[in-house]
Amino acid sequence: MIKNQHTQSPFDPITLEILWRRLVSIVDEADASVARTAFSSLLRDAHDYTCMFTDSRGQELVQGTFCTPGQAGAMAIGVRELIRSRPLSDYRPGDVFIINDPWALAGHLNDVCVWSPIFFREKVVAFTACVFHHADIGGRVASDNREVFEEGLFLPLVKLYDAGRLNEDLLDLIRWNVRTPEEVAGDIRSQVAANHVCGQKIVEMMEEEGLDNIDDLADEIIGRTEKSMRSAIARIPDGNYPYEGIIEGAGNRKDITIRMTVSVDGDDIVVDFDGTDDQVGWGVNVVYNFTYAYVFMAVKSAFDPDIPINEGAIRPVKMTAPEGSVVHCRFPAAVAARMQVGHFMTEMVFKALSAATPDNIIAGSGGTPAQTNIFYGKRHDGQPWHTMIIRGGGMGASSRADGHHCAIFPANGANTPVEIFESDTPLIVESRTLVEDSGGPGRMRGGIGRQMTIRVPDGDLAPLSPTSIAVQAGRYRYPPEGIFGGSPSQKARFLKNGKAADPSGLTFCKPGDVIAFYSAGGGGYGNPLERDPDAVAEDVKKGYVSIEAARKEYGAVIDPESLKADPAATAELRSVQTKG
């Protein structure tokens, strides 16, 4: 073993970078172990989990390179409070804690956190934690529950292992409260294993590098990160930037009004939600941490996407919200569909800051919120089936580029291949295509939305009625907005047999029914009459924009034969449209 003299702070910049990389690689190793030990495909394929560790004071130090923004931002503040909820002297080697209290971490019961102290020479030097999204946590799976009690098993902060001894009773309790006990228990073990890898590697590193604590290193890393984050914030002009936005209520539920003021003062940023609506009696309430996660997502993605996430990155970003409001709900609010409100936070911060920092933000996105569909029923032979898909929409345009076509934003995720969907279900997908004219017109065009049409087959292999479809989505009444003169995108639509239907609650279908889901596109950026006519012509050639819309929305005259723009006719038309 080589002993280095790293014990005095500050570290020289080269050593610091090397140690920092080592820490990142430790978390990534723990992260990689999950791919081998977890059962659920939500974890293994969709990577819906986040690993991290903190110093002895609970300050987040490193988070896995692959993380989900909702979990990542929420853990940075949530884990610190958990660790500080008891004195350091209470922790024992081999202690493992478990909790899925939505108020403590990522805002719904499915996100389960497992965490442990790391001991080095009989002293707590750090903590390691991971949050996994468990597909099953029991309860009634729906967004219209009234209280969290209906939504599944609620675990307060409890010990899964006490000084190395497994609490079998607790594991049994969990098993008896979920539908797939082996998978859930298996994935919890995978969490314990990931933390174990992390803890062991940190101890090895401390031995190899002759460190006797992690906190000195943490101070350096957190300090430099904070400085970098602050210098990004300092580039935002000082001021108070208010914004009021409305999120549609599902079905005939009341709309929700969000009021925020983003205040920038030097290198501090505060987002205040005073005046925001109270929490509601269905599942879209958001806990403080999850709201914070998507506020933080906005600041980081707009001003410095490369900054690592640790205590230093979150320190300059503050948030205040009235307790009992929909963005800082009180126990026992229902929270299962929190993303239907929470995902809007990123877009709203962008809108508040748009005038001050027009080049750092994007217009509204059709993938806000992420759209989830659950399909279930029985095959012709009575076999039950069940599947879930997530869908995005067009992303908003920015000052520098058209919006990306189809994505979930600010959350993230992948679609399910049609061939997998069809072999999992008795349904037939008739089409999945981009939707012409769905992107918001603008100098920069919003991303194109897409549609997916599904048929319940009739004939010999028709499923037994009903085939049930549950939709968690939005943008049916209020489309993603454009910005700086850009136009909104087309709205999302939900059609049953060609007619607009109510997407909220459950939709029951019989053989022969055809259901179409249209996601919204992204909002446009800038005046569409200023869009380069050749870019409009290219959009027409590709079928993103119709010739009619080119003329009406963009004032661009496109020759139907050559599909080229006519510059003279365009200039003339635009001068008329500008006056009009």
């Binding site: 890898v197 990160t225 994505a407 072999s423």
Partner: protein, 695 residues
């Protein structure tokens, strides 16, 4: 006159074209390295053959095999130099290629760019037809719509056509019919159908693969025709083989039909060589480490087998960001590539810390010390300043390095801003790139269930042997192996690769419901295709088939591979398959779930010939005593002392079998330099391999 018995390996890389000529009887080797000629890569082939003919007169006519790896296909994709390509697909699905999997590869970057599809939207046309997921025909093929689509695409000037229909992996009837129509109506069009390219479930990945094949098919065909002519004009009349990404070699006809299979043909060779060494020396865990100018590629080889994966990416928009490229679903050796090479640039990050890579100075302008206009200090500059490289013996002395310029660049651009000494900064660059590679190695090894503390590192590439020692220390590897000709040695992998072709077909079926006779039929038809792909020269009786099942728990997203040998499938019991799955799953993931149902997803066959014997050369070192092998001594930087200490410099060509010595040592050969720190012992074996054991 007795015909000679040479085999020639030729690897055309981005910068250099490497040649290795092997005498199959004696094992004697001749190597040559020259600059790649991008305008016509066969010029470099002619040049290399001319150089080798000087050393071995008449070698062209005496060579029975020419085994070839090339970056042509991957470059055509990256540089978008492929053909104007059209796509015919099922009604309702022309945007599969553009929608992709819809995931954002960088969650926090709202300005991420995404790769443009290889076929533009107006060249993607739909035809009326539909196959169900179980292969039933839901809507018969409307041949009129095919005729119309074909006419329109021809009018739009396509040179190559891809056909990919939904669920065609279960029933190719409609794709077959379209193929017949295209062959009769447009016989000059290059054609790729998804069932022939790779009939696997997941329409985006299959379409992307088929389209990529179509996109590079014309350019590959022209190149291979030219190469064949060129070789024959040089007097070669043996067989040409092309290296596949999967680690097998194949005929020129198969490579022409399926160019998407040869994308990674170059990097694969080092892995095949390591695999061979792993088996030969009975090393259970080998870590192949190939570090060149721009990237480092590595691969864990367990019990002599490098894993194959069924998907990889090409043409990443963000070079080292997973998800920013085009997915290709063909079998490929499980390589990990990171942006760490001799040319990796060092700079100061936003955090005020040192950062090295992933940007590279490449071959032009190259590192500062090359004196070709490079201004940013690189890893090679640091290696030179630290004494690991000899400024007067780079590429055997054919290229002088400017040490003073390297020192100046490191001092001004790194040491100054960090307020540290030039040497500390240089060591920082060397150490940090090792740390980056170590981190990636540890993650890769962890993902494959290995343990870095037991691996033997096999080092290749110009920079591999320079950095292997530092890497070994960081990951805790006890041993390093540097094969002969490590700088070009990956080309030796060509000779060790078997003639083989991998086929697969998806057919999702629950184990309980599966009809094993039907599956046996499926395997047999794959085997028949395999024999055809191996080419006309192959006797069907000589072909060995390896069958693999890809199975998973119902509802799970990823499959587990189960090798099952050659036994007819209808002779298997369902309980045996179940037990096989549970055992494999448990070994990989620690436990299994006997109560959960499992299903077949994809069936795979590797059709191949038995490996040909390959004899490692037994080079007689010119020296007989250690003293005779020593070129001198020079100060170089110790990773342990953190200071310059004297290193003994050996000439690798003079080291003899059985030679043993301890670090600190530097072993120089023309194409590469091996660095051994003080806490290690070195031994030369009978074949001239350098074995380094860490203390």
């Amino acid at each position: 006159m007795k015909k000679g018995n040479f085999r020639l390996g030729c690897d055309i890389g981005g910068t250099f074209t490497d040649f290795v000529l092997v005498d199959s009887e004696t094992g004697n080797i001749h190597a040559h390295k020259c600059l790649t000629t991008p305008d016509d890569p066969s010029d470099a082939v002619a040049e290399g053959m001319a150089a080798l003919s000087k050393a071995v007169p008449g070698m062209a006519a005496d060579t029975t095999e020419f085994i070839h790896g090339t970056t042509l296909v991957i470059n055509a994709i990256i540089e978008r130099k492929g053909a104007v390509t059209g796509l015919i697909t099922t009604k309702g699905f022309k945007d599969v290629l553009e929608l992709g999997r819809e995931i954002r590869y960088d969650a926090y970057d709202i300005f991420s760019e995404y790769p443009q599809p290889l076929v533009s939207r107006e060249l993607r046309l739909e035809v009326d037809e539909r196959i169900a997921s179980d292969g039933r025909v839901l809507t018969a093929l409307d041949t009129e719509s095919v005729t119309r689509a074909l006419a329109e695409l021809q009018k739009k000037g396509i040179e190559s056509l891809a056909v990919c229909l939904i669920n065609s992996y279960e029933n190719p009837a409609h794709e077959d019919r379209i193929r017949e129509m295209v062959q009769s109506k447009a016989p000059d069009l290059f054609l790729s159908t998804s069932f022939e390219v790779l009939p696997q479930i997941r329409e985006y990945e299959r379409t992307s693969t088929t389209v990529t094949n179509a996109y590079v098919k014309p350019i590959t065909a022209r190149y291979l025709a030219k190469l064949t002519d060129r070789l024959s004009s040089l007097g070669f009349d043996g067989t040409i083989y092309i290296m596949l990404s999967s680690g097998g070699i194949t005929t020129i006809e198969t490579a022409r039909d399926f160019p998407v299979r040869i994308i990674e043909s170059g990097p694969t060779a080092a892995v095949i060589a390591s695999q061979y060494y792993g088996r030969k020396f009975d090393i259970k865990d080998m870590f192949c480490f190939d570090m060149g100018g721009t990237t480092a590629k590595s691969c864990l080889i367990q019990k002599g087998n490098a894993g194959l994966v069924s998907t990889f990416e090409v043409g990443r928009v963000q070079r080292f960001k997973k998800g920013s490229g085009l997915p290709i679903q063909v079998p490929v050796v499980d390589l990990m590539e990171i942006g760490a090479g001799g040319g990796s640039i060092a700079k100061i990050s936003k955090m005020g810390l040192l950062q090295v890579g992933p940007e590279s100075a490449g071959a032009a302008p190259g590192p500062v010390c090359y004196g070709q206009g490079g201004e940013d200090p690189t890893v090679t500059d640091a290696d030179l300043v630290l004494g690991y490289l000899d400024p007067d013996y780079f590429l055997g002395g054919t290229m002088a390095l400017d040490k003073a310029a390297a020192e100046k660049a490191i001092a001004e651009k790194i040491a100054g801003p960090l307020n540290t000494s030039m040497v500390t900064a240089a060591f920082g660059i060397h150490d940090l790139i090792n740390e980056t590679m170590a981190a990636a190695a540890k993650t890769h090894i962890a993902e494959k269930g290995g343990n870095p503390n037991v691996v033997t590192i096999s080092a290749f590439g110009g920079a591999g042997p320079v950095h292997a020692f530092g890497l070994a220390r960081k990951i805790g590897a006890p041993k390093i192996l540097v094969p002969p000709l490590a700088g070009v040695g990956s080309a030796l992998g060509f000779f060790m690769a078997p003639v083989a072709f991998d086929l697969s077909r998806s057919h999702r079926k629950n184990l309980d419901d599966a009809d094993f006779t039907e599956i046996e039929d499926l395997f047999e038809s794959l085997q028949k295709e395999g024999v055809a792909a191996l080419g006309s020269a192959v006797q069907p009786d000589d072909v060995i088939f390896e069958r693999t099942l890809m199975m998973r728990f119902v509802g799970q997203g990823a499959e587990t591979d189960l090798p099952i040998g050659q036994k007819p499938f209808n002779e298997w019991e369902k309980t045996e398959i179940r037990a096989l799955f549970d055992t494999a799953y448990k070994r990989l993931y620690g436990r299994t779930y006997p109560d959960n149902q499992i299903e077949f997803v994809t069936f795979k066959v590797r059709a191949g010939l038995p490996p040909r014997p390959f004899h490692l050369p037994r080079p007689a070192g010119a020296g007989t005593t250690l003293e005779e092998s020593i070129k001198g001594r020079r100060p170089a930087f110790s990773l342990i002392e953190k200071d310059f200490i004297p290193f003994t410099v050996y000439d690798r060509t003079r080291l003899f079998p059985g030679a043993e010595f301890s670090g600190p040592a530097i072993i120089e050969e023309r194409e590469s330099t091996i660095v051994v720190g003080e806490a290690a012992r070195v031994r030369i074996d009978d074949h001239g391999f350098v074995w380094i054991t860490m203390d």
